[in-house]
Amino acid sequence: MTSPMVKAESVHKRFGRLEVLKGVTLEVAPGEVVCVIGPSGSGKSTFLRCINHLVKIDAGRLWVDGHLVGYRQVGDKLHEQRDAEVCRARAEIGMVFQDFNLFGHMTALENVIEAPIRVKGLAKRDAAAQATVLLERVGLADKLAAYPAQLSGGQQQRVAIARALAMTPKLMLFDEPTSALDPELVGEVLEVMKALALDFQTTMIVVTHEMGFAREAADRVLMMDDGRIIEDGTPEHFFKAPREERTKQFLAAIL
């Protein structure tokens, strides 16, 4: 039995008085592709941001690849990790955002090589060679010198995926990667993600409402509501016989 890539134990998060996560418990195995669905405000994005410590959890425990996220355990005491330690852990977790968040002052190529050079210490020539391969893989071989403002939403999101992959992450987090896209651009991004899931066996946690993607690429679907995971099953389970009333309602609304 392999150890889980992500393990969450009763994770809680409050923003002021608002309790966003009310005890999330979960295990994701290496190579698994998990889709997280649920209404807005159910805590999906917050949970995703907890995994790479962009959001600090208030209670519970969270491990990535066996390492505690954001803390160091010494005896029975928890020590907060220093910025450098947190960054080292984050460097191994890729993240793709709803609004792409490409660095606006850099070309597509510069976006992709920035972290490999500055964080991993790769030589510029090696980083550029690797980035060119990645950008070709996402179908943007002719856009290396384009600035984000010169690219369509779908192209920007594919650059963002290449940027995350350039750090050779062991885990990829996708936060509603197609929600900000025009309907006809959704497909090109999902194709890239599908290839990642099926051909490269990348461990992925994808917050999305694209049930078509879930059906084709996901091993598991999680339904979140009100800060908890209320249903966990295969895509078929969700399509054929969801158990919870809330899940049925939600799926009826989005399908």
Partner: protein, 305 residues
């Protein structure tokens, strides 16, 4: 060409009589008249004594004053920009003492006239006649007398630079805040440290917001250096004053100084255009055209015709 367009439109092109704007013609006529009248009076009034303006325009004392003015502007702005970035980052710190210290600095230096600050630095020897470098309550390594370190030039540079730092801090802070939080999230998610994120991702994009007001500040600084004449630094204005206090050609020398300020301001404005263009890359689909490019484009277009 026109018929082709009309044909491709499938209907005849509109040929309408344009609206007349008599008001514009009247306004233009008034402006031309006033311009000619002003030019005529400046040229024909012998009291302007343009010959004397010409004689002093490149005199060595004026040119030396110009150099001092430029030195003061550059050094004071350098101090101001470095201090401004530091204060802005401090102001955004989560440590209340650090952000409080920055707030206090800005409050103090923005709240007192720069003229008073210049006089204070010039007279600093009255408060601290001697400086020592060493460990507080421990050994000292070196002594300086204030009058040897704080020359009038240094007093002026410090006063202008430290004052500018307070204004630059707010400009830099506005720039940093203008960069969307998603940029920081993305940088952090790639494993970039906070310092690296600030240096490589946030500040370069903040520059687009920071550069225009900084250009403004530089031009303003160029002219504010004339205040330093009060502590007898022989910059451009004081050099002019020294000359006219002897020969009484007051207006002519003030014109000489003004012309030089105008020339340097023009050069700075051109420089600002190119700096803005550099930091604007990526922000717009097309960079603004430089005058040289416009000229070249115009020429090729004419050749093409």
């Amino acid at each position: 060409m026109a018929t082709e367009t009309a044909e491709s439109l499938g209907s005849p092109e509109i040929k309408a009589i344009p609206v007349r704007h008599p008001g514009r013609w009247v306004a233009a006529a008034i402006i031309v008249f006033l311009g000619v009248a002003l030019g005529n009076s400046m040229a024909s009034n012998p009291r302007f004594e343009w010959g004397i303006v010409g004689n002093y325009f490149t005199s060595s004392r004026i040119l030396h004053g110009l150099v001092v003015t430029i030195e003061l502007t550059v050094t004071a702005m350098a101090i101001g920009i470095v201090l401004g970035v530091l204060l802005a980052v401090m102001r955004l710190s989560r440590n209340p003492l650090v952000s409080g210290a920055s707030w206090f600095y800005i409050w103090l230096f923005r709240g007192t006239p720069v003229f008073v600050q210049i006089l204070l630095w010039y007279n600093i020897a009255a408060l601290y006649p001697r400086f020592s470098v060493g460990i507080p309550f421990g050994p000292t390594f070196a002594h300086f007398t204030a009058s040897s370190v704080i020359t009038p030039f240094v007093a002026g540079m410090l006063a202008l630079g430290l004052n500018e730092g307070a204004y630059m801090a707010e400009i830099v802070r506005a720039g940093i805040i203008s960069v969307p939080e998603g940029q920081t999230d993305a940088a952090h998610s790639l494993g970039m440290t906070r310092l690296l994120t600030m240096r490589r991702i946030v500040l370069p994009q903040a520059m687009r917001v920071i550069v225009p007001p900084t250009g403004n500040e530089t031009i303003s600084m160029l002219k504010t250096t004339s205040l330093v004449s009060v502590i007898a630094v022989a910059e451009l204005t004081y050099s002019a004053q020294l000359i006219y206090s002897v020969n009484y050609r007051t207006i002519q020398l003030l014109i000489v100084a003004s012309l030089w300020y105008l020339i340097v301001t023009t050069v700075l404005t051109i420089g600002q255009f190119y700096v803005e263009r550099y930091f604007g890359r990526g922000a717009t689909r097309d960079l603004p055209v430089t005058p040289l490019q416009r000229l070249r484009r115009g020429l090729t277009l004419r050749h093409g015709l």
